[in-house]
């Protein structure tokens, strides 16, 4: 498996095992899409069942949501740059951009936690109504993915520092990159079908 190395390809695609890992990760992303689709479906069914509790308009704060969105979009962009630098074999650039990405991700998380606290203050918890249950679980699942992504990327950064750019570390970086972009894609749909839909006049 370690045998054949094709150096004409970008680092992360050079060995067969790496190519398999990347393909496997794409398949995993397929499963993740189904997972989020199910959560969106649940939200779509329950989103007007307030049970007398607060409604979208009572709790959503558009300004905060816009900030969160911009943070995440930017982090997706910086992650792209990080991979770009990786392809140029620029380890320092790669790590710098990765760290920036994670900082933006952490900012997003911070905002999201604040948002949850704000909701709880308004009497909107996950036990209040079906609408809020599905909202919290959809947002929470995405947030948990971001948290996991931050932890995971930190591991990868440590390995990059220890081992430098090898086909293996490059592959790991590439995969976390895919994951990060994917979370951004999910957010686009949350932004559209949760926040904007809830706030449409």
């Amino acid at each position: 498996m370690s045998a054949k190395v094709d150096t004409s390809l970008p680092l992360e695609y050079q060995t067969e095992q790496d190519r398999m890992n990347i393909l496997g990760f794409w398949v995993f992303l397929g499963a993740e899409i189904v997972l989020f689709a199910t959560l969106f479906g649940v939200y779509g069914v329950l989103y007007e069942r307030f049970a007398g509790g607060p409604t979208h308009k009572d709790i959503f704060v558009i300004k905060d949501v816009m900030i969160q969105t911009v943070l995440l979009l930017t982090s997706s962009f910086t992650m792209g740059i990080a991979i770009f630098e990786m392809r140029r074999h620029n380890l320092k650039g790669l790590i710098t951009w990765l760290v920036i990405t994670l900082a933006l991700g952490a900012g997003f998380l911070f905002m999201e936690i604040n948002e949850f606290i704000h909701y709880a203050h308004e009497g909107a918890t996950m036990q209040t109504s079906a609408f809020l249950s599905s909202l919290f679980v959809l947002l929470g699942t995405h947030g948990a993915h971001v948290t996991l992504g931050i932890g995971w990327a930190t591991m990868v950064i440590i390995q990059l520092l220890k081992r430098g750019l090898t086909p293996t570390t490059a592959r790991k970086t590439f995969i976390i990159g895919l994951y990060w972009h994917f979370l951004d894609v999910v957010w686009i749909f949350i932004f559209t079908f949760v926040y904007l839909k809830g706030l449409v006049a």
Binding site: E48, R49, G52, G53, P54, T55, I59, Q127, T128, S129
Partner: protein
């Protein structure tokens, strides 16, 4: 293989003997009859499929089995046959179409009062299923029964069904197909009985310990008998109070009960905002007990939580705003 087929054929007479009085094949009203017709139609085609496949199977396995004589026979290389494959794709398509058309027709027909009875004014009976009993309310007559329901013959009966607890299924096989009853929503089912008679009805959707005995009787009567019965009930039966009613909803088996008013006066469980009378404590009893939530009826939202004046000025029955846990506006 032979042995298996033999044992199957030995079974058959026995099955037919007990099968000649199967309730699904003895419909007692137009609704059930339309389903039986559909079933009979499908049986013809299924029998055809079975005969063809069994025939081919028996023939091929018998003819081409390995015998001492054909030890040296080397089967030909063969990869398929477009013609044959088209045939055995095409014929099933035709069969499926032949089944689809009456299925769809029947599906639509079953949602309406049965053919030939459109003229006749249907009577409405509300069905409320609870663990583990059936409650029937006659809003027009103002009476209520538990675990039995009397209906006039030859009259379409519109059952408006809901549940005060779990998901259940209302089934009177002699009169028609089943439908689920569910809390905070309403399903509808039309049934008609051709003749006076007693038919068994039951729950088919598993709902816990008392499930197997959750049965009721449908008694179809002549119009006069029915009217007489209603009068008698009105005169003699006691009145149901809310307190007593809450007792009825506990997870128990009850015999037959009769009242001269209906619980619809204070609650209709089909209403999305109706109170849920759940009794978690009464369901305890098996295994290690987890924690139950105090707010079994979501007490937090007894008064709609009003923020920024939202929805306050509008009344409770305003459809636009009153979405509280509802079903997209029943």
């Amino acid at each position: 293989m032979k042995k298996m087929l033999l044992s199957l054929t030995a079974l058959l007479p026995m099955l037919i003997l007990s099968g000649c009085n199967m309730v699904v094949f003895e419909p007692q009203g137009p609704v059930a009859r339309s389903i039986t017709e559909l079933i009979n139609w499908s049986l013809i085609w299924m029998l055809l499929v079975v005969v063809v496949v069994f025939g081919l199977f028996g023939y091929i396995v018998w003819k081409y089995r390995e015998k001492p004589e054909n030890k040296d026979y080397e089967p030909p290389e063969e990869h398929g046959s477009t013609l044959l494959e088209i045939i055995w794709t095409g014929i099933p398509i035709l069969i499926v179409i032949a089944l689809t058309i009456p299925t769809v027709k029947t599906l639509y027909a079953l949602e309406e009062a049965p053919k030939g009875y459109e003229e006749k004014e249907p009577i409405t009976i509300h069905v409320t299923s609870a663990d583990w009993k059936w409650i029937f309310s006659y809003p027009e007559e103002g009476i209520e029964t538990v675990n039995y329901v009397n209906i006039p013959e030859d009259t379409p009966v519109l059952f408006k069904m809901t549940s005060a607890s779990t998901m259940q299924s209302f089934w009177v096989p002699a009169l028609g197909g089943q439908k689920y009853t569910m809390p905070k929503m309403e399903t509808e089912l039309y049934l008609v009985a051709d003749n006076p008679g007693s038919y068994e009805g039951q729950n088919t959707n598993f709902n816990g310990r008392g499930y197997a005995d959750m049965k009721f009787e449908v008694l179809a009567q002549t119009q006069e008998d029915f009217d007489q019965w209603v009068e008698d009930v009105k005169d003699t039966a006691p009145k149901l109070t809310e307190k007593e009613y809450v007792g009825l909803l506990k997870p128990t088996h009850l015999g037959r009960l009769t009242y001269s008013n209906t619980h619809l006066e204070w609650v209709n469980h089909a209403d999305p905002d109706s109170k849920a009378y759940t009794n978690p404590e009464l369901y305890r009893g098996h295994g290690y007990q987890g924690k139950t939530f105090e707010e079994d009826d979501n007490y937090k939202n007894e008064k709609p939580n009003v923020i920024e004046g939202h929805g306050e000025d509008k009344g409770h029955d305003d459809n636009e705003e009153n979405h509280g846990g509802d079903h997209h506006g029943h």
